[in-house]
Symmetry: C2
Subunit: 295 residues, 2 copies
DNA sequence: CGATCTTACGGGATTCGTAAACATA
DNA sequence: TATGTTTACGAATCCCGTAAGATCG
């Protein structure tokens, strides 16, 4: 009662070649097998598709009307499964990655270049957004992967650590501290200090360390983005601290980066994925690339 | 390597029901059979479509992307084969019929009504055109059936006789001949005579008969269509002859029809089909209806 | 422990290919 | 008669269902 895709292909081949012999050859099938396939298909649809006398073969009116329909069915069928296979083979597809801006700016470009080189058919979309939004995006499924610092809690997400990021001191090129190989918290506190704005983990941590060391730096200004702080430091307004992963972009902004002596502030950077949601092929590939690069 | 339509249906059912148990039931299939179908399909396309732990079932990202595509494939597939089956079952389709105007006007309407009643889904197109064009239309395949008089020759066509048509006399209602039950050629020739124009079989035959009877009617006018001749006769301009199959329309035009005494002019009316071209279901049906009605 | 999916395996239907029969130009 | 299609039939394959096993909540 039901027609198979093989029978449809048989119909198309026979209509195209106009001969059981040629059509069966093109299908890698014996002539009787093709004959049976057509016979069964005709029985299934309830009428003759070909008019055949042993010497002449032609489509019936119904067969002729069906031919373009059959062509389109086959084309769409093949197209659909080719697409699917290519997706699984990582020859095409797309991937949405959320990452905190510092990581997106400083670490992602070379990684994505390698990814692109290896999987040129995969369309990449990067959401460079703050940590909370990264976690939301992954939780909602808008992004399959998210890269940020490890937060205090992350329900429903799975975290894969990549590396531990230590904070470093950033000072203007003209600063007296610029000549030091390493800078202590105490030295930093003697300069005008630019802080991350209140409410951020970085501000809380900075305040805690300063308090523990009984230091009271002159807070010059607050900003909510590291790029802003970097520009302010570069302009000579003051000094600050930043995650080591920002080193590259800080240096490009004209800021001097130095290891920080004294209490170590460090934080895990890693990849988030949604629990109970398996990764797509491209996401899996990028996840592995991330883990291997840092692991 | 190749995916079957059954596997596509299995995929869709499983995606819809979210459970092997329910999906297999809806497919009238055992659970292991469905499991195997999905496994084979996944192997064919080169990756997992479902993420399954014994207690939870969900589409993979690739499966989710494929779902709408699969839906459309199935819908178009079913639609295409439903259409084809309905065509074979004469529940839908179309039929183009060529017929000479006299037949189309006088005989076709009741026949087509019966056809329509029996096959309400078949779309009918009637070409009411002169004999030569009827034959051309059938030869070219523009019309599957053609109804006309039997011509001297008809290469490449197959002729099925329907009935023999005798010519009758047509006179105005006010004519002295209107009171006769039967009219002789000689009586006809005594009146102003309206002829079919030169070159037509009817004109040649009329001339031949008149000559054989040594009659020389006053030719009042010529026309190329029977309807025109009918109107002229109805207006009292003269008398003429016409195929008996025109009797109905002639009477409707106000013309009196009488049997013709003397030499009999008769001609075969029948259906033409293209040789070596089998008829579509609808054409076959109408052909049979024609043959049975007249046979 | 229970519900659900997977694996294992035997039976049955479908499909295939070879060889012979058949039909048409 | 020659060519191309169908029929016949044995074999291989595929698909299905039952029963047992595995796994997760």
């Amino acid at each position: 009662m039901n027609v198979s895709i093989k029978q449809l292909r048989a119909f198309l081949a026979l209509a195209e070649y106009g001969s059981f012999a040629e059509a069966s050859e093109s299908l890698h099938l014996s002539q009787p097998a093709l004959s049976a396939a057509i016979r069964n298909m005709e029985q299934a649809v309830g009428g003759k598709l070909f008019n055949r006398t042993t010497r002449h073969l032609a489509l019936t009116p119904e067969g002729r009307q069906f031919l373009p329909v059959a062509r389109q069915l086959q084309a769409e069928w093949d197209r659909a499964f080719d697409d699917l296979s290519r997706r699984f083979a990582l020859l095409q597809g797309h991937l949405r990655l959320a990452a905190m801006p510092s990581f997106a700016i400083n670490c992602l470009p070379p990684l994505l270049q390698r990814f692109r080189q290896q999987y040129p058919g995969i369309n990449l979309v990067i959401d460079d957004i703050v940590m909370e939004l990264v976690l939301d995006a992954v939780r909602d499924g808008r992004a399959e992967l998210g890269v940020t610092f490890e937060p205090e809690q992350y329900d429903g997400l799975h975290f894969t650590p990549l590396f531990e990021d230590r904070f470093i001191a950033i000072v203007p090129a003209g600063s007296p501290l610029a000549s030091c190989q390493r800078i202590h918290w105490q030295q930093l506190a003697e300069q005008p200090f630019i802080t991350m704005n209140r409410g951020s983990w970085m501000r809380a941590t900075t305040d805690r360390v300063m308090a523990a060391l009984a230091l009271h730096p002159a807070s010059l200004a607050e900003a909510s983005q590291l790029a802003t702080i970097g520009r302010m430091v570069a302009s000579g307004l003051g000094v600050s601290i930043a995650p080591a992963l920002c080193q590259t972009s800080m240096q490009l902004q004209g800021v001097q980066c130095r290891p920080l002596e004294g209490p170590v502030i460090q934080r895990q950077v890693g990849v988030f994925t949604r629990k109970r949601h398996p990764l797509s092929g491209p996401a899996e590939a990028l996840h592995q690339l991330l883990c291997r690069h840092y692991g």
